[in-house]
C-alpha cells in the first residue's frame, strides 16, 4: 500500500501505445455493475492511503485505492462520516471505486448523492498524464466541474487516482419509526414527511413495513418523533436494518433475475405492473421483480421521468438504458478527448463508449 501512481501511469501509457483495453479495478466488489467488462485488469488497490484529513475542514483527501472501510473508520473515530453512505456490497471496496460507481445509500434523498460530496479528483488521462480537477475546498467554480463528472462514470474517462470528499459530522441522535403500510401508502407517507421541516434521513418500505429514520440534534429528532407517530424500532435493530439496506445484505435484494432498479421522481405513482420488493429514497428508488418485458419496464420508467436499470438480469443482458442521441453524441466526444485510444473500461457504461 502506498504511492503506486507511477505504475498506473506506466500501464496507461503502454496500453495507449498498444491499444490494449484496460479494465480499471479497485477492490473488485462491483464487477457486476455496468455492462460487460473487457480488458486487462488495471489494479488501483495498491495506490492507497489518506493524503490529508483535518476534521475541522470537513474535507478528507485519499488515494483512490484506500479501502472504503478504512476511510470510514477513520472518519468515525473523529465523529464524522461520508454522508452519501456508499454501499460496500462486499469487503474490500475502495474509495475510487465508490466514486466511479456513483452509488449512494439510504441518505441519498436527504443528504445527496456521491457527486454532492466530491470536491476534487485526480485522474490519469488517456495520454498518461496526471490531471487534477476541483480541489480540497468547499466552494470552487474554477473551470468546468470535471471531478463531479467522474461520479458514476464507471471509469470510462480514466482511472481516478485521488479524491477529495466533503465529510459531515455524524448526527448526535438517530431514531427509527415503523408503520404497517402497503407500498403506495408508504410512498405517500414518505412524501408527506419530506414536505415538512423534519430531520428525516432515510426511508424504506419492505414487506408491508415502512420505516423512517430521523437523524440530527436530539431536540429536533424528539420533536419529529411526536409529529410522525408510529412505533419506535429498537436502536440496535434499526441500525442493523439501515446497514443491511445500504450494503444490500442478504436476504435483501437476492440475486434472482430479473431485479430492476427503478429511479423516478419520488412522487411518481406506483405503476400497475410494478410490484416493488423494496422502496427507498422517499419513493424515488424502487426495486422491482416484475416486468419480464425489459423494454416496457424501461419505457415506463422513462415516461415517469426516470430510468430503469436491470440490476440482475439474464446473462448477456444490458444493465442500463440507451442514451438519447444528442446526449450520446456528447458522450462520444468526451470519451474521445479523455481517452483517445479508447482503452478505459470500454463499453462498461454504454456499448457506444
Amino acid at each position: 500500500m502506498g504511492d503506486d501512481l507511477q505504475r498506473i501511469i506506466d500501464a496507461v501509457r503502454e496500453a495507449a501505445a498498444t491499444g490494449v483495453p484496460l479494465a480499471i479495478r479497485g477492490g473488485g466488489t462491483k464487477d457486476f455493475l455496468g455492462e460487460r467488462i473487457i480488458g486487462t485488469p488495471l489494479e488501483i488497490g495498491g495506490h492507497a492511503g489518506i493524503v490529508d484529513y483535518d476534521p475541522s475542514e470537513l474535507v478528507v483527501t485519499a488515494r483512490a485505492g484506500t479501502p472504503l472501510a478504512e476511510l470510514e473508520a477513520l472518519l468515525a473515530s473523529r465523529g464524522q462520516m461520508l454522508a452519501f453512505e456508499p454501499p460496500h456490497f462486499a469487503p474490500g471496496g475502495t474509495v475510487g471505486g465508490a466514486v466511479a460507481a456513483g452509488l449512494a445509500g439510504p441518505r441519498r434523498a436527504s443528504a445527496g448523492g456521491v457527486r454532492d460530496f466530491v470536491l476534487g479528483a485526480s485522474i490519469v488521462s488517456g495520454g498518461g498524464e496526471l490531471l487534477r480537477f476541483g480541489g480540497r475546498v468547499m466552494k470552487n467554480v474554477a473551470g468546468y466541474d470535471v471531478s463531479r463528472l467522474l461520479c458514476g462514470s464507471l471509469g470510462v474517462l480514466g482511472p481516478i487516482v485521488e479524491v477529495s470528499l466533503k465529510v459531515l459530522p455524524k448526527p448526535a441522535l438517530e431514531r427509527t419509526l415503523e408503520y404497517e403500510l402497503d407500498a403506495p401508502a408508504a410512498v405517500a407517507a414518505f412524501n408527506r414527511a419530506a414536505r415538512q421541516p423534519l430531520p428525516v434521513s432515510a426511508t424504506s418500505w419492505c414487506a408491508g413495513r415502512a420505516r423512517i429514520r430521523l437523524s440530527g440534534a436530539p431536540a429536533a429528532v424528539e420533536s419529529a418523533r411526536h409529529v410522525l407517530g408510529g412505533r419506535e424500532v429498537e436502536s440496535g435493530d434499526a441500525a442493523a436494518w439501515w446497514e443491511a439496506l445500504r450494503h444490500h445484505r442478504a436476504p435483501l435484494l437476492a440475486a434472482r433475475t430479473p431485479l430492476w432498479r427503478v429511479v423516478v421522481p419520488a412522487t411518481a405513482p406506483l405503476l400497475p405492473l410494478e410490484t416493488p420488493e423494496l422502496v427507498e429514497w422517499a419513493g424515488a428508488l424502487r426495486w422491482c421483480r416484475a416486468g419480464e418485458d425489459g423494454a416496457a419496464v424501461r419505457a415506463r420508467a422513462r415516461a415517469a421521468g426516470g430510468a430503469a436499470a436491470l440490476w440482475h438480469g439474464p446473462a448477456g443482458s444490458r444493465m442500463f438504458d440507451d442514451l438519447p442521441a444528442a446526449a450520446l453524441a456528447i458522450h462520444r466526444r468526451l470519451k474521445a478527448s479523455f481517452d483517445p485510444a479508447a482503452i478505459f473500461n470500454r463499453g462498461r457504461l454504454d456499448p457506444g463508449l
Partner: protein, 487 residues
Amino acid sequence: MIPAPRDDILAALRACLPGDALLTEQAELAPYECDGLSALARRPLAVALPKTEAEVVAVLACCRRFDVPVVARGAGTGLSGGALPHPEGVVLSLARLNRILAIDAAAGTARVEPGVRNLALSEAAAPHGLYYAPDPSSQIACTIGGNVAENSGGVHCLKYGLTLHNVVGVRGYTSDGDELVLGAGAPDGPGLDLLPIVIGSEGMLLVLVEVTVRLLPRPPLARVAMASFPDVGRACDAVAQIIAAGIVPAGLEMMDRGAAAAVEPFCGAGYDLDAAAILLVESDGTPAEVEDEIARVGAIVRAAGASAVRVSRDEAERIRLWSGRKNAFPAAGRISPDYYCMDGTIPRKHLARMLDAIAAMAGRYGLRCINVFHAGDGNLHPLILFDANAPGEWPRAEAFGAEILELCVELGGTITGEHGVGEEKLGSMCVQFSPAERGVFLAVKAAFDPAGILNPGKVIPTLHRCAEYGRMRVHRGATPFAHLERF
C-alpha cells in the same frame, strides 16, 4: 471563413424576433455592455430579447448559421464578466423568459424558466411553506439561469449547499440546436452525469431554457448570533472550533473592521465597530434545536475570545443583523468611487494568514481593502477599493486582486468560489491549471459546442494568454508595479 455582412445577420435576426425584441442602436446596447464587473465593458453587435423558447431556438439557429458568437445573459449581475458581450456577437438575454412553470409542493420541486429571479422563486414557493435555499446577496435581481451558469452560493450554502446541490434538472439547447434534458427529478439516469458539468459552465456549453430546482421546507425558526472579536485570528479559531464541535450552522459569516464600518452607516445593523472582526452564526430548526445550538455556539465563541455576543430576539432583528452582511458590496460602493470584489476560497485553517497577507498587500499597492466572507466554507470576498478615474488605480487593483488569487492557489485553494472565471480571471486560470488540464476544459467545451459559438473566449485561457500573464507577473510580488513597494 469570411464573416457574413453585419446587415445580413441583423436581417436574419429580425426575421425571427418581434420588433421590440432586437436591439441594435448604440444607445440601446449601452446597458448591456457589461455585467456587475463594470471595469470590463464592450458593446455587442445586437441584443436579442426573446420571450419564448421558440424564439431562443430561432436566435441560436440564426447565430449558428452565420457563425456568430452568442453570449447568454440573465440579469447581468455576474461579477467576473461572464456576460460581457462579444464585439461581433449577439447578447441573448433570457430575462423575458421569466415564468414559474410549475411548483410541485408534494415533490418539493419547481420548474422555472431561466429568467425567473432568485427571490421571486422563493416568494412564489412561500405559500407552500417552501423556499429555494441558495441565496446570493444579489437574489433580488439575479436569475436562476445565471445562478445555474455560475453555480452561485449564498450565506446559507454551508448547510444547504450551492446551486449544484439544489438543482435537480435542466433543459437547454446546444449550439447545434439539439435539445438536452439533464437530470429531471430522478437521480441516477444512464450514462455520465452531465448536469454537474453544465452547472457552473458560464453559458459556454448550453443555453438553458428550463431549470428544475429542489424546494425545502422553511425551518420553523432561525436566529443569528453576532460575536465580536478583538482580533481576526481568534475569530478564525472560533470558526474552526464550531465546525470541530460537529455543528454545521445555517450561516457562518465574517466581516472585518473595515467592512463593518462601511456597512453600519448604510444599514444601521448595530455592528460592534470596535471589534476587529464580527462573526455571524445562524442556527435554524425547531425552537428547542435552535436554542440548544445557539447556546453551544455562544459557549464556543466566548471560549475562543469573543468580547461580546448578541443573539437576535426576533425575525426583524435577525434580518437587520444580516442586512449589513448582505449589503456589503453596495456599501463598499458608498465609501469608495469603485470597488473590485474578489472571490477566492482557501482551506479554513489559513484564513488568518490570508487576511494578514491581504493587509500587507494593501499597503504595498496603496489601496484599501475590506473583507467580508463566507467563513464557514473559506470563501473570501476581499473588496479592493479604488477610483477608476485616478490614473493607474484600476491596473493596480487588478494586480492586487491577481496576487490574492495566486496566494489562494498557493494555500491549496481556488481562484473562484462562486463568482466564476468569466473574462476577469482568465489569467489566474493559468496559475491554477496545467496546460493539459486546460486542454480538457477546451475538449469539454468542444464536446457540447463543436461550433464554438457559445460565450467564446471565457473561462479557458489560451496558451498565448497564459504566456502573457506569465510575462506580466514574473513571479509573485514582482509585478509591473514594482515601484509600489515605496508606498
